[in-house]
Symmetry: C2
Subunit: 111 residues, 2 copies
Amino acid sequence: MNPDALRGHMDALLLSVIEDEPLHGYAIIEALQERSGGALSVPTGTVYPALRRLERIGHLSSEWATVGGRKRRTYRLTGSGRRHLEEERSAWREFASAIGSVLRPGVRPAG
Amino acid sequence: MNPDALRGHMDALLLSVIEDEPLHGYAIIEALQERSGGALSVPTGTVYPALRRLERIGHLSSEWATVGGRKRRTYRLTGSGRRHLEEERSAWREFASAIGSVLRPGVRPAG
DNA sequence: GCCTACATGTAGGTAGCCTACATCTAGGCT
DNA sequence: AGCCTAGATGTAGGCTACCTACATGTAGGC
C-alpha cells in the first residue's frame, strides 16, 4: 500500500482501535493488522511517535505496566480523544464519499 | 477537510476526472468540486504541479490551445495513465475497506 | 481605472509517515 | 554459553506531496 495514503488517517485508526479496550503500542500494531484483514502493516516508527503525539495533545493518557518481565505503556482514550474519534469518523465518511464520487467511473451527471 | 487526507489520492482523482474527456487545469479543479458535491476544493498550487508530475512520469500528455483569447493546457490520459488509474481505483477500494473495517465501531470478532 | 472571472505557474514551508537503527527481556534450541 | 525469535519501546533523520502565498496575464463588466 502507498505509504502516503495513510496520511491524516492515523489518528482515527489509533483512537478507534483502543476505543473499547486500552492497549499498548505493540498490541495496537497487531490489532490494526488483524482488524484490517492484514492490509495495514504500520511500522513501529510510525505508531510510537503518533501515540506520543496524541497523548501530548490530550487525546490519550498512558500508564506503565509490567507483564511477564516486559514493560508496557498502555494507552487509553481521554474524553477529548473520544470526541476527536467521533469527529474523525465523520470526517472519514465525508472523505471516502467524496473520493468515491470522483473515482466511480462513468457516473457523471448526464451531459 | 484535513489537507493531509488527500495525500496519495491526488493521482487517482486527477486521472479519474479526465478519463473520459480531456480537460485543462482550471476545469479539472471545477470538475473535482462539482463531482464531489463541493467537498473537494483543491488549490491551484496543488493541481498544476501534480499535473506536471503526472505528465513527467508518462501518465498524461498535454497540448496548448487558445480559447477566447485565453491559453489553456489540456491534459489527456496516456495508455500508462489509464492502467495507472485502474490500479489506483483498486488500491482505493482496498484502502477504504481496510480503514472502514478498523473505524467501524463495535464490529470486532466476537471474543 | 477597477474589479472579477478565467487561466497557469513557482518558491518555500509544513508535517506526518517511513527507514533504519538502538535497546532490553524472555525463552527455546543446540 | 551462544544464538535466534518474539515481545516491547523508542529516536534520528529523510522524504515528499500537499499547501500558502505570490506572480503574471487576458477578457469583460461597470
